[in-house]
Symmetry: C2
Subunit: 364 residues, 2 copies
DNA sequence: CTGTTAGCGCATTCAA
DNA sequence: TTGAATGCGCTAACAG
């Protein structure tokens, strides 16, 4: 009961069954050219009878279009990218396009291999959340572009690369969140999920350099943090930013370190979900309470954040919209439109709940 | 700087550039047949020079295999499916297969359309988390199978359909979780995320019927709940199971209703993430506390569950493993192996944290 | 070991 | 309006 693998019926067989020429059958089945109503019916009936299904491969072979778009993200299991991919596939599906999704786990080599796969499979376009930090490491993207394949970046831009992109304004979102913390009275706010550096720089400008060379999202978020501090004339303290690998364990360790400082932060700004949970663990382990002891704002709202005790103030990213817009922009390029390079910036939203309170000292 | 869309270099062009015959070039580029080392080098160099990339479509056209597997799930943005899909793509990628993912949002019509797309694109196999409740509504799956396309079900089985599948033992997982609650002293435990029924049945056997006709996962979880009650001789109370649409709002409303009962439940068993957050909202709104006032166990552990106050006792599903196993099983079928139908059942794990406490009355 | 010859299934001229 | 002939780029016998 397995692989009988009987060759699928072809247009020729339908033609024979209907008693017409191949091209006549092809025209009615392919929905192009002229066919008399009667013949049309006959062909359709014959196709139905023998269970004909068009061979998209053969069609792509002669038309040159596959009606599939390639998507490259860091990790499809990450809720953020899951949302983006959903937005992309929903938007493209309604236009008759399917999506081939590849995860890179932030490894450039994987990303390069992924673009090769997509090129080989002749996708009509690609949407990439690239791990490339500069033009020099984005050669594979230019490669695709030079082959005439429309490409649009999503979530992150590659600095110095003149390409279409759909992103959010990370710097502003971050700046506003930290400003909110400062407005509540905090002067010492920790930054969790910092630069992936082995050692902590001591000078402020080193951090700015790092931010400028880092993944655009991470860099902009750090820059926004710095902006907010500047706005209020608060001194930057290197000790208050996390360094090291970007994972929950490290976030917890760094948050714990900060909380143990003589002049400990009274608020924490976390730039990613795992940074939030890691920080939460650290706060609890230190015997402190969110809100009353240490305020917190994090990136990427989720239904969990709303049921925490206390409910967490979070920055909501329009994941679905990011994907939808990226898909729409890409399809437009595929249709031959939009020649100029454009960067679409979508709005984020600071959802205020109860994790931001005045610092302990200011209360009393 | 847009669609120059210069026709990509073909094998013939490489052959010309290298000064050899088409097939010789094809052999070295395709990695089959014999080619002398010297000629081989020459061809490779020529290919490199003119930027040749194999056309996977043309190759598939003549070999009959696309090296891509189709995946159909309810919603790629759902963390559970995101994990499953990641498992699938990771496992298949290492074997040279890519994945085409389609979401159905639990709508059978979408699922049927999705299988058609996959058939048309000639995927080498499919992995489906079907929304079909019985063989009668799973005709599209049999259709694919009869065309010789390997299919393997994941997460849920279609009762009465003799197909390979990779699932977890929902009934047992559920039974053990509820047993844990009962062991802590609870006699009244609410079941959140029940049958999608408009009205609540009054007889126990109606619930069993519903469970048997429902989505296999949901049905088995309800059945496991019933089993646990039976094991301890606890009477089943229809009022303690949620009915209606399966969404967070409804979960909250139903949990609120139960908590307002004269003989309110002292523990809640939630079969999905949104059921957990909805229930948590209800508990808080009622001015109660998780653990001390009402115990809770839910399905699908996440890093958030561990940082809740108190940390939540949850059932962990091996999402990645489900995907990996499904992919492995499918690839085995594609390789022509495994003729017999097999159902792989993976282990779940009850992660005990602090949301399960003795009921208030039993304390004092 | 290499080159020639046929298809794969469809879309697309071009005649009829 | 319909059908016969070509070609898409590659693999796969086949003969040289």
């Amino acid at each position: 009961m397995t692989n009988e693998r009987a060759a699928p019926p072809t247009i020729s067989e339908v033609a024979a069954e209907a008693g017409v020429g191949r091209s006549t059958a092809a025209r009615t089945l392919g929905g192009y050219g002229y066919v008399s109503p009667e013949v049309r019916e006959r062909v359709l009936a014959a196709a139905e009878r023998i269970g004909y299904r068009t061979n998209a491969l053969a069609r792509s072979m002669s038309t040159g279009v596959t009606h599939t778009i390639g998507v490259i993200v860091a990790d499809i299991a990450n809720p953020f990218f899951g949302g983006v991919v959903r937005g992309i596939s929903d938007a493209s599906r309604t236009r008759g396009f399917d999506t081939l999704v590849l995860s890179t786990y932030e490894k450039l080599a994987e990303e390069i291999a992924a673009t090769d796969v997509l090129i080989d499979k002749r996708v009509d376009g690609m949407i990439i959340a690239s791990a490339a930090l500069d033009p020099a490491s984005a050669d594979h993207i230019l490669q695709a572009r030079s082959r005439g394949i429309p490409v649009i970046l999503v979530d992150r831009v590659v600095r110095g690369l003149h390409l279409d992109a759909v992103v959010i304004d990370n710097r502003t979102a971050s700046r506003e969140a930290v400003a909110r913390l400062i407005a509540a009275g905090h002067r010492r706010v920790g930054f969790v999920w910092g630069p992936p550096l082995a050692e902590r720089p001591s000078r402020r400008r080193d951090f700015i350099d790092v931010a400028a060379r880092n993944l655009s999202t991470d860099g902009e978020r750090l820059q926004g943090y710095l902006d907010a501090l500047d706005d209020e004339g608060i001194a930057f303290d290197p000790e208050l930013v996390m360094v090291g690998p970007k994972d929950e364990e490290r976030a917890e360790a760094e948050a714990t370190r900060m909380l143990g400082l003589a002049d400990a932060p009274t608020a924490m700004f976390c730039t990613e979900t795992d940074a939030v949970t890691g920080t939460l663990r650290a706060i609890r382990a230190a015997g402190l309470h969110v809100g009353s002891d240490v305020s917190l704002i994090g990136f990427d709202d989720s239904s969990w954040a709303a049921v925490m005790e206390p409910p967490l103030t979070m920055i909501e990213q329009p994941m679905l919209a990011l994907g939808e817009r990226a898909a729409e922009a890409l399809l437009e390029m595929i249709d031959g439109g939009a020649d100029s390079v454009r960067v679409h910036t979508l709005e984020t939203r600071l959802i205020e709940r109860a994790s931001v309170q005045p610092p302990p000292a200011a209360r009393a």
